[in-house]
Amino acid sequence: MISIKNVNKSFGAHHVLTDVSLEVPKSNVVALIGPSGAGKSTLIRTINALEPINNGEIIVDGISIHDKKTDINKARLNIGFVFQSFNLFPFLTALENVTISPMKVKGLSKEEAEKRGKELLISLGLGDKFDSYPSRLSGGQQQRVAIARALAMDPQVMLFDEPTSALDPEMVTEVLDAIRKLAKEGMTMVVVTHEMGFAKEICDEIVFMADGKIVERAAPEKFFTNPDTQRAQDFLSKVLNH
């Protein structure tokens, strides 16, 4: 579903991504973990071309994302993206946040868009928040609206860039539950996360990055009990022993 081939990206002399390749089969869930500055966020942002790349190729659902001939607006319809800082539209209600793109991009009628939008918000436990503005919602509620907003475009792939990092601890669960539910429904997903327990539980594969490179790829059981590389062992000893 997602195929990343030999991607390089640098800001001047600083290499952010070095020769990164990764395959994510349909319905798989991949966690990107690693120390900060490893290039996890940059990598996930290149998958829907929020970040340009220097060379290499990224193919999502058969479409080469960074090809100049690709209509990126059309390609992005297949790729939902959830940001660390939610990025909800503050002047629109929760329901309007969810319906604006289906209406303005896909040309759905207001009725169609609202019907689907309400279903999504209800399924994410936000049935009583249709008319609330983002400023009146908790962080966890805002992030669930953001997930509903991305799902409203019926994407084939969902990308999550540290979806719980900006949340108070007691709100992390509700957002992780929403992602867990999507995993059960067979959504193809890439998640940048620091929630190791969550990564271990729902992911098919752990991708460990450091210094702009993929250092290790393994099944969760293997990775968390017996990682091959020293770099991963060091990282895990730091994040798991407290």
Partner: protein
């Protein structure tokens, strides 16, 4: 000792009213022209197109660096030679071109003040740059620019007094003429100041009302 004679005001009320109405008319037309100028060049200042950005910057920088009085006279005498502007349209275009440059800066800072994540979120949902601008960025920029835009409108009403130098009929020119015939400068100019204050203060009350209504819909 100066003998006040305030009857000059009541006897010439028609002159003041006509002048005030002309001031409002000239200011309103100038604002209507200045807003699209400001939006176009404000977006030009942050455009990816180098030529558009350069033209916009040159316009804004030149106008900001030239006094309005000089600009009005220049437009009237230099542009007026080719365009047959006359003092009425010369005054309106002069004010519009002047205010347009300041509105462009207000629009630019309004757009740049919208967090970067808003454009990213809109683009990630498949919106083109233009659609994201129209449906997501500009509505938020609009709320941000209202207060500075309001002070710009008030400035424009006050600045319109300068168009008397190119003989455009409005409140200040009418007052000058009245002083020339009645010699009642203290009474006339006091009353003129009061009229300008009433016009600008009413406008600021109207704008405050709209700002409150907008902020209500968001809270």
């Amino acid at each position: 000792m100066y003998q006040y004679d305030w009857s000059v005001i009541s006897r010439n009320m028609d002159v003041f009213i006509e002048g005030a109405l002309k001031t409002i008319e000239i200011s309103a037309l100038a604002i209507l022209i200045a807003i699209p100028i400001g939006i176009i060049f404000g977006m030009g200042r942050i455009s990816k197109n180098v030529i558009f950005r350069l033209i916009s910057s040159i316009y804004v920088e030149i106008i900001r660096g030239v006094p309005l009085l000089v600009l009005l006279i220049w437009i009237f005498f230099v542009l007026g030679q080719f365009l047959k502007l006359g003092s009425y349209w010369g005054a309106i275009w002069g004010l519009a071109i002047f205010a347009g440059a300041f509105i462009a800066e207000i629009v630019r800072s309004g757009i740049q003040g919208v967090p970067k994540g808003q454009m990213e979120a809109a683009r990630s949902l498949g919106m083109s740059h233009a659609k994201a601008m129209t449906h997501i960025i500009l509505p938020q920029a609009f709320r941000r620019v209202l207060p500075p835009l309001a002070s710009q409108f008030i400035m424009l009403i006050k600045d319109s007094s300068l168009v008397s130098v190119i003989a455009a009929t409005e409140l200040t020119l009418n007052a000058k003429n009245l002083v020339a015939t009645s010699f009642r400068s203290i009474e006339v100019w006091t009353f003129v100041a009061l009229i300008y204050f009433i016009m600008t203060f009413s406008l600021s009350l109207i704008i405050r009302y709209f700002e409150k209504r907008l902020s209500k819909s968001e809270a």
